[in-house]
Amino acid sequence: MNTGIQAPPGIWWKPAHRSEKVWVGIAFAWCMVLFAMMPLWHLKGEQNPAGLRYKVDPQRYMERTQEFITAYQVGEDNGIPVVAPPPGSEVYLVGMMWRWTPVLKLQKGATYRLHLSSMDVNHGFSLYPINANFQVVPGYDYGLKVTPTETGDLRIVCNEFCGIGHHMMVGRVIVEDSAAAPAVPAAPANGGAE
């Protein structure tokens, strides 16, 4: 037997002891479980970061967001428009130094296609307190199909460093019971909603 700092003499390609093989076998099996869990969760699980993903010109994205705000704006909060999109609609959220626009009013149990993108640098979409986190990258549209499962007054904390005002970048999402929500005209759902 030799230590790790001695050159092993002769042929060192020898069969391992059974105990060592057992551990390698168990470790390998566990690695397969680790691997299998991910595709499995895509099939059976309800939280997957897949979404629609494509490149987008930041100006085009901003225009879409403006159209979206104009269509469904219901008020203003801290100078930021409050928007109540109908279930099934395409929802646009934009991050820029250093705020999230608009404030969203969603309904519990309804499904939306939530688009995320940035006008300038990377930002981090972190939904507090449920702790769901996504990277917001300029030039890319991340369209996640989301279904709020509980009512609440939530915050969007920016958790990617985006310059000196990073710590001021907090947005808001309000989730209401569908019964309590004001009736809004249903818009024709396109694309993502189902």
Binding site: T3, P8, H42, F134, Q135
Partner: protein, 582 residues
Amino acid sequence: MTGLAEKTPGAVSRAVFRICPTTGLKVNSQADALIKAHAVVATVSLLVGGIAAIGVLLTRWQAVHLLPAEWFYRILTIHGMSMLIFFIIFFEMAVLYFASAVLLNSRVATPKLGWAAFGLMVLGAVMTEVEMWRGKADVLFTSYVPLRASPAYYLGIILFAVGALVTVCIFFGTLVVARREKTYRGSVPLVTFGAMTAAIIAVITLGHGAAIYIPTFLWSIGVIGNVDPEMYRMVWWALGHSSQQINVAAMVSIWYLLGALTVGAVVLNEKISRTAFVLYILFISMASAHHLLVDPGFGPAWKVWNTSYAMYLAVLASMVHGFTVPAGMEVGQRLRGFGKGLFEWLRKAPWGDPGFSSLVFSVVVFGFVGGITGVTFGTEQINIIAHNTLRIPGHFHATVVSGTAMAFMGLTYYVIPLIFRKQVAFWPLAKIQPYLFAIGMLVFSMAMTFAGTFGVPRRHWDISFTDAPFDVQFSPAVALLIGVMALGGLLAAAGGGIYILVTVWSVFFGKPLVAGAVTGVPQGISSPPRYLPETVKTIEDENRSAWGMAPGTMVLVFVFLAAFVTYYFVNWKLLAALWRIH
């Protein structure tokens, strides 16, 4: 320790050697000097990064909130860069010289070029530091475009990387020289083999580094119009994470090295350990993916395949080393006569040898905290509840700090007598240093990880959100956890400070090593591990039993597996409570 100078004949006659009285190795004077230079600069980097760490820590501790926002992000950039890049890589270059020239009794292939490369690395590091301290690079060490730093910042990193690449090539050159001049017999030792895998990974990594920093530099001086932010993230992390694979390979090599020096740890099976090292190389470029799991640039199939490094085969490699390293130590101890029951080998271990205690902490914290959290957070879906929260720095302070940096510290206690030929100064302090650092870091990183489960962001100046348009009320538990994190961090910082004091003092003002010295010399040197002849037979008897030669380790790895499985599935459970997201 009077080394006797000796000349080798022929074309290489200018190479001067001394014989190390402890290990019997022939140490080349150029290797000696290069190791010293790199180790000294590594320690200086650690000092800079450590001072920055205290600034960052005391600012994130909301009760103190030391620095203004601008300086917080500046100091955080300095902390990341000085620690993760300069400290770690300078030290690794020293390890490469050690594992090639010293362990193989060889001269350095091209010492002059070695010094030039060292100079380039120092120049690059200084340039980058100057830009960061001047406030020309407040972009954090990831410098995600389109955040922009000054051209000199990127150029400094490029120079540093070129220097490192040349040093890695000299390492390979030295391996060739040693083989050609027949300075050793048989295959290279496992530790050298591990260092070799680290060096191969380094070449690939530095290639990715060139691929990202050169365009970014050109962009910063206006030659290139823009760099795609998502491409940047992908290629940058092919550098940023692959370099962590260098760290892991280097750290595991040091585990085998310290095991051998402190308790005569044996290599149970060369084939298994070496294959595990090779697994690290095969999958390294995929490492970028687990930083991009919740990014818009990539689809699920790409994410799942890459984040798992092709079905977790690199994780398998770490789990193998996680068994073979302690098992080798156990067998070494049993051969020395500490063979009663399952755990006498642990009870009778040289806990007062800082090289040994560092080794144990490095293995345990890296595995139990760093490894388990890393695999869990790197799961495609679980990353949704981890990305960019404090869970991430919590995780990597358990890997690269409690694992790699701790191993480096342990090795230093052997490098001081073996290479610098000095006694370790402030010996009683040196003995407790690993305990302070490891326990502090453990508390720090665990508190950080738990705070992160509440959604507390990383890289954030003010989690009281005083200036934000909407209030964010964290649970009271968060304030408590942040307080615990600060205490742990301060303890670790004290441990780090003692390390710097001890090493600097030993190297520059230390007493020369004398034969028979007992204080200031780790036990592995004052009384090197020796096997008892009669134990060899007993070990072979045990070898026939199902539990093998290392039954104690067998028990420990199953405890580890249980912790792993539990933490992993608890996180799926947490994830399942979220909104439905597809």
